[in-house]
Symmetry: C2
Subunit: 164 residues, 2 copies
């Protein structure tokens, strides 16, 4: 398993994963029907670089099994706070891939000069919350009823944060 | 004083106000040096409509003295929560313009079907917090030290919310 910065041409191997996760409508506050070009704009805009990083995890045969992005959550006077998003192939969860990717991303964000990382919208039924808590994130607040879950109905969106 | 939906060509009269407020670096988490085209993209993207509204307040001689935008804060399963931003000409504060604009915007957002409104990043030294609280917003959380204020140094960013 290798974790590395994505190249622009990795998108074609991220997109199937992205589409599967977002179309389920259970964990991301994005349109489940997001078309491919709009998905790409959300996850990896063309200008990759220190202020806009995307990571992939490849297994031994080169399959992309997870991805993450990191970018400033705000601009100007608050651009030192990072935002990040994570996706792991639903067929490969429970193997520590998410944790290893997250540890890598946190370290890279620290090296890039961010002083904190915020997740703006973690669906409160998302099992990944346990992972984030074990990595030092705390829920600052929950936006009540903000997410219409296809199974659980209206649930909250957690805003999670940790210093770096 | 008239409050109305903005037309695309109102931007030229919003921009001086926008630039003056953002370049001060005290209340918005946007780059103080944001150039005009990027500012326009942030405040009023080309496709104005029910899901992307901009308002202006004009005084008797047609001068734009305030503006606001309303759009979904999230997508898909959470698109019923609105985000909004407000700017009042710094030379015309204290006259109730912000309050009247906010009341109008809240009513319009309710009519557009939003069930809540969130402000993601209210600088905790911003005097407008009193106005938001008087209009029913509560601070869900403060992101500590997230904003480098030119006078006060590192201050928090309040996440404020109210049901509609």
């Amino acid at each position: 398993m290798q974790i590395r910065d994505a190249r622009v041409d990795d998108w074609d191997r991220i997109w199937p994963l992205w589409h599967r996760i977002v179309s389920a409508g259970e964990t991301y506050a994005w349109d489940p029907d997001t078309p491919e070009p709009a998905a790409r704009a959300l996850w990896m805009p063309p200008a990759l670089g220190a202020a806009n990083r995307v990571f992939v995890v490849e297994d031994a045969d080169g399959t992309v099994v997870a991805s993450a992005y990191v970018r400033p959550n705000y601009g100007g006077p608050a651009a030192h706070i990072a935002n990040a998003g994570f996706m792991v192939d639903p067929d490969r969860t429970g193997r520590g891939i998410g944790r290893r990717l997250a540890e890598h991303v946190l370290e890279q964000a620290r090296q890039d000069g961010y002083t904190g990382m915020i997740f703006n919208a973690v669906v409160e039924t998302n099992p990944a919350i346990k992972l984030w808590e074990s990595l030092g994130f705390r829920t600052l607040a929950t936006v009540p009823g903000a997410f219409r879950h296809p199974v659980h109905g209206p649930v909250g969106l957690n805003i999670m944060f940790r210093e770096l």
